[in-house]
Amino acid sequence: MAEEFFIQGNEACAKGAIAAGCRFFAGYPITPSTEIAETLAKDLPKVGGSFVQMEDEIASMGAIIGASWGGTKAMTATSGPGLSLMQENIGYAFMTETPLVIVDVQRGSPSTAQPTMGAQGDMMQARWGSHGDYEPIALSPSSVEEFFYFTIKAFNLAEEYRVPVFLMTDETMGHMREKMHIDESKINIVPRKRPELTDDYLPYKYVEDGTTPMPAFGDGFNIHVTGLTHDERGYPDTNDPDAHDRLVQRLCNKVLNNRDKISSVFSQFCDDADTIIISYGSPTRAVIEAVLKIRKEGKKVGYIKIDTPWPFPEKQILELTEGAKHVIVVEMNLGQMYYEVDRLLKLQTRVHFMGKIGGLLPTPDEIISGIKRAEGE
């Protein structure tokens, strides 16, 4: 069955969450993400789920971790300042391998800055925001329809790898309304794997690909979940250097070893392109318009849209940019993913940066002049 809607990105996200099986949402109002909470407050009870407005973002994050261990898929939505508050508990979720989804509808930053304007200033906060070593997964949609499908994908990845997954979007995408076409046959839901209770059951068993099935509280596993360095039984083991090394390496490797499977990009016209533009999220819309326009002038320009900023799609970008002379990174900040691209490509290609802050999308004309400037240098 297929359905069409004319809705906001934030509403699409809420619909995606429900389609993915999210049955618990805890949040705190913050512009520009609030519509997600509002929609879910209305829709979750209709599917038997629960919505709670918590006292702050710290509490929201705690509540969804608790709900996830309670056996439901859980989500929260926030913006930059709220994400900063959540960071301690996000680290806890990585350490305890708790699947959940965090939606960050980015706004002008730092601090309170521009609540009603778009930006992409939290990309590194999603990557490194909590303390210590961990490997996050982040998705970045660039249309309302993609926002819906990426929300489902975020839940699926969270369950598959037992990690928190970020949905990094921004005000432009969150508040924009456009046509969304939903084809139910395209929706694929990954359920949580149920562990088997055996005599030698180990909740944090060391396995090669890193993910062990997750039990729910109340199912008789008597599991101890702790943010301390823990052994395979889940008991704290804080003084053994090897135990810590083994644990944290496994937590990172379960994402890194599957990096090529998790990460994805969308690209066009890259085969013959002299110049390739790399972007993610809403600026991609301007990039595509600019590329289509400039190609009519006969210039060989292609683009890569990063769907998963984290883990960074190194292999795909290396392959696609092989023949390009210039790579331009377009984003709505003063350089975040640019450094990641530059690190990857600096030995083979000239990497240029085109950032725009202030809250407005870069325009296709600005990007075209950026391309000309880069090629002229």
Partner: protein
């Protein structure tokens, strides 16, 4: 003929004993009192889930053989909120310390009490930060010496049980560990209360509180505590001057109020019928 081992050990992860608590630390006593109260309240032990934050007292769930969530500092109540709402059938018990519940988690404490979700919170108030080595806590009495109050504590302490009662909890009580019988009965009452129930246990930290404050042994500390304990009914007739340095014990709230998970369930039933979401993460069809 008695069993050689304490009956409490059968509820505990024996392979982890002896626990890390210092000699004379009341955490172990409160753990036993909880288990005793749980037996008395005829709770289903398999159905109990424990949540704790950070601190000495928050290590307790790690020693009890049930599902336990050892979370971040001060946030135990937020995790417990999510857990209880996600699976209403669980009996969620939160162990917390005074720094955890009153300082970093103070906001969560009053809001959890306001929401009146069916949680049982046992707050072990030793008036000091034990795990970090003896700093003042928001419940440290005025004048005591701590590593961060070398000239004596100049702050006025929180009256936790009263704060929680005022915030709207269904049940709130305070006892000291010298009131073992009353403590057990009170925890039992808390477990049976539908709604947010809070039991503050004023307890001993001989290592960091006692040694700094010229109470060198656990028994000396306990003796001072017992001498300073005043029943609430008696305290109500005493002047503020007489109550100086006294520990008022008793029940501060015991009332019936709407409970949050019931309300949420009502919404859900009204809007969706009998759809259950317990363990829904394992389903593929909704």
């Amino acid at each position: 003929m008695a069993e050689k081992n304490s009956k409490y050990l059968s509820y505990m992860r024996e392979e982890r004993l002896p626990h890390i608590f210092c000699p004379g630390c009341s955490n172990g006593s409160v753990m036993s009192a909880f288990l005793e109260a749980m037996e008395k309240a005829e709770m289903d032990f398999d159905n109990i889930a424990m949540v704790s934050g950070i601190g000495c007292s928050s290590r307790i769930p790690g020693y009890i053989k049930c599902d336990s969530l050892h979370t971040t500092h001060g946030r135990a109540l937020t995790f417990a909120t999510g857990l209880k709402i996600a699976n209403k059938g669980l009996d969620v018990v939160v162990f917390s310390g005074d720094g955890d519940a009153a300082s970093i988690g103070g906001n969560h404490l009053i809001h959890a009490a306001r929401r009146n979700l069916d949680l049982t919170v046992i707050c072990i108030n030793n008036n000091i930060y034990g795990m970090t080595g003896g700093q003042v806590s928001p419940t440290s009495p005025k004048g005591i010496v701590a590593t961060t109050a070398p000239y004596g504590n100049y702050d006025t302490p929180f009256n936790l049980a009263e704060v929680v009662a005022a915030a709207g909890a269904s049940y709130s009580a305070r006892w000291t560990i010298t009131e073992m019988e009353n403590l057990v009965l009170s925890i039992k009452a808390a477990l049976k209360t539908p709604g947010f129930s809070f039991v503050e246990v004023v307890s001993l930290c001989p290592t960091y509180f006692g040694r700094k404050n010229k109470l060198r042994t656990p028994t000396a500390m306990a003796a001072v505590m017992r001498a300073n304990t005043v029943f609430k009914s008696a305290a109500d007739r005493m002047s503020e001057k007489e109550l100086k340095d006294k520990i008022v014990v008793g029940e501060f709230a015991n009332k019936h109020r709407d409970e949050l998970s019931d309300v949420l369930e009502k919404f859900s039933v009204e809007n969706s019928g009998d759809k259950t979401v317990v363990n829904s993460a394992y389903e593929t069809e909704f």
